[in-house]
């Protein structure tokens, strides 16, 4: 008999039921789930029976299990163990751990055990992580986690929607409020040119300046474009303060009409169009626990440039990408949960390294580009495909049988 999976996502006041009249479809229920956790959810939905549990911890008695149809085969999966107030007592509990580098430091409140992320992870029957890097971080904290990445490459869709109404900006001019154009119009005006696409969230914004200045300093800036898709957080919501944040990072930088940025929340189909129109995918992140956008780009056969540290060490190499050199001295960020001596790992890319990588990218011929893309796609489609995911899930189920 296959296991039944119940996914929990609710935190804080979301646990108080409102009984609003709304569509209870699982995807709608999970609207607050992080992107990487949604990929786990989609993967499980493709191979197992999956439902939602709003407050798993209230079910503690055999009568409760019967009432809520939580049979012995139920596996409770949560993507927010630090906010999960208690597990589903008496059943198998799994945490999806994809944020162990960055999150721990801000989670600890002295004397408040529910805010201790590692305490919660230790209480789980299994911890799934998306990269060898995360696995290593957790091992150092005494937690044995399973390398079980989500099937990122399986869910690539190619249906597209137009970007004609999506505004974007050219870098330079006052406070980044330069000439406004739409993304579709931008691509029409740059036909034949190389477009480097990068996706950046609020937590990566420190890397914006070296990325842009490295691009401008490179030969790529003469004829190519750098398109920055910026989103404010993991829920994909943009905010009015993005202009100010970007301006603060790039203030004083020379005008460069070759750099374009867009901060609009796009649908999956619009993102597909963005990938489809771009030539190269660029990641300059200083630390990642999975880097799903990069894997998605590789699965599409796009050539990519990226550092090979942290999670990217699992799939980035000279053979499959242009590797961005990084400073391997980690930045001293004290991680309170893991102890005052423990530092969070960060490997920022420098302007010079990015400049070299951009130069290398524009010097590649079409054939080299397509072969590099094909080699990357072959790897990630195997490593992050549904077959690999199902094999890993079956192995996990064997371990709890």
């Amino acid at each position: 008999m296959p296991n039944l999976y119940r996914f929990s996502y609710a935190i804080g006041k979301q646990r108080i039921p409102m009984f609003a009249k709304s569509d209870n479809h699982i995807q709608r229920e999970c609207r607050f789930v992080r992107h990487s956790s949604k990929l786990y959810l989609k993967g499980l939905l493709a191979i197992r029976e999956v439902g939602v549990l709003t407050a798993p911890d209230i079910y503690q008695h055999e009568i409760a299990y019967q009432t809520a149809a939580l049979s012995e085969r139920v596996v409770h999966v949560t993507d927010k163990p630090s906010h999960l107030l208690r597990p589903l007592f008496g059943r198998t509990n799994v945490a999806i751990a994809v944020r162990e580098t960055a999150k721990c430091g801000s989670q600890n409140i002295e004397g408040d055990p529910r805010a201790n992320h590692l305490h919660m992870l230790r209480r789980m029957d299994d911890v799934w992580c998306g990269s060898s890097f995360t696995q290593g971080i957790l091992a150092a904290a005494g937690i044995s986690a399973r390398f079980l990445p989500p099937p990122v490459a399986h869910f690539i869709e190619y249906q597209e929607d137009t970007l004609s109404n999506i505004p974007c900006h050219r870098l330079g001019f006052e406070s980044c409020n330069s000439k406004l154009l739409d993304v579709e119009g931008f691509f029409e005006s740059s036909v034949g040119a190389t477009v480097f696409l990068t996706m950046m969230s609020a937590r990566d914004i420190g890397g914006l300046r070296p990325l842009v200045s490295g691009f401008i300093a490179s030969g790529a800036a003469k004829h190519s474009f750098l398109l920055i898709k910026y989103h404010d957080n993991d829920d994909g919501r943009s905010s009015a303060s993005i202009n100010e944040r970007v301006a603060a990072q790039l203030g004083g930088m020379a005008k460069c009409e070759q750099v374009v940025w867009c901060d609009v929340d796009l649908t999956d189909r619009q993102l597909n169009r963005l990938y489809g129109l771009s030539t190269f995918f660029v990641s300059s992140s200083s630390a990642q626990e999975l880097n799903a956008p990069l894997i998605e780009a590789m699965a599409r056969g796009m050539p990519v440039m990226s550092p090979d540290h942290t999670a990217m060490a699992d799939y980035i190499s000279d053979e499959r990408s242009i590797v961005v050199a990084t400073d391997r001295r980690s930045r001293a960020v004290v991680d309170n949960v893991q102890g005052s001596e423990r530092k969070a790992t960060r490997y920022p890319a420098t302007r010079a390294a990015l400049r070299t990588a951009f130069d290398q990218a524009v010097s590649l011929g079409d054939l080299d580009r397509s072969q590099m893309g094909a080699r990357g796609a072959a790897l990630v489609k195997t490593m992050y495909g549904l077959d690999a995911f199902e094999r890993a899930i079956t192995e996990f189920e064997g371990s709890i049988a």
């Binding site: 646990r15 209230i58 009568i63 004397g111």
Partner: protein, 379 residues
Amino acid sequence: MTGNWLLIVDVTPLWELHFSGISNVVYELTRRLRSEISTFEIHFSVFQKMVETDVVDRCILERSGRALRELFNDASPLISASEFGRNRAGQVAALYLHTRPETRSFDFEAQLYYDFSFLSVPESLSEEIIKYHLDGVSSQVHCNDIIFTISQSTSNDLWFYFDYPANKTEIALLGCQVSTQECVSFSRRVGERSIEPYFICIGTIEPRKNIRLILAWLAENPWVLGEFRFLFVGQNGWGESFDELIAEADLEFAVRAGRIVHTGYVTEAQKTALLLGAQGLIYASLFEGFGLPVLEAMALGVPIAASCSTSIPEVLGPDGVYFDPYSVASFDGAMQTLLAEREKSDTGGRRRKLANRARTFSYDKCYAVIMSRLAAEAS
């Protein structure tokens, strides 16, 4: 043996002017401490200050902390419990029936925990309350040699949050005191008159009690209001008020027509009387450390539709009608069961079983569990 031991019992909740909830539990245990023969030499403290037994006896007699307040208002200083213990030649144990200090003062220390709602359902409490309970909680827990909990559910939390070992935990299930005199008086008042049938929902109006679920179901099934009234017993606490919840569910018409009634606060005697006349108790809580209203209804043989959450199934057992507190459909199923049994006049069996089960819970047992474990540890 235990004859050499002195036991200081901290009964701070007796400070309350009107006993309810935790102060009621402490009242029941203190009453037994004063009347039962114990192998310990027992003394009492309040706010970690020693108080004479005659003051405690007055509190028990009056069911009020008025005597304690008079004592603390008196200018004469009270000796601290730790100093009192230090000056004793023999061994000294302490039993804290509610909160305790963060440091140890005695040879053996035990505490009774009711729930960890400030950790488990912080979304339904104010920040001030959470902060008050969080302050030093980990140190307090680990200062104890034994912890008594009022349910397995609270024990689960103790293990989950604090790694507290199971062999140092003892479950002392609560009892309840339903006034039979009140029941008789109620029956006499009603006489042969038929009462318009009603369901009763007991609890402070606060998010944790989840009355939204009941109101959402009533909004979907307004026909029920034609046959039954719904009484909500309990004062507005925090979160949305009763009126706000009614407005949210578009049920103002039912309140205006008297089909939904919010009584506000009622006395214990009034609550018992209202329970006795009800067709059933509806208890939709999202979290409980025990669930005393459920046990009180059981003792009166009142059918119960209850949430399957946390400790409630431990108390209600197999003869409750359960629902998932997150599902209107599940609640509908439970109510249909209760209504169908009433329709067929088939509630007698359930009522008897509930009353029989209620008799297995008692404060005598709760007291015995605590004192026998303390005696065993002391010996």
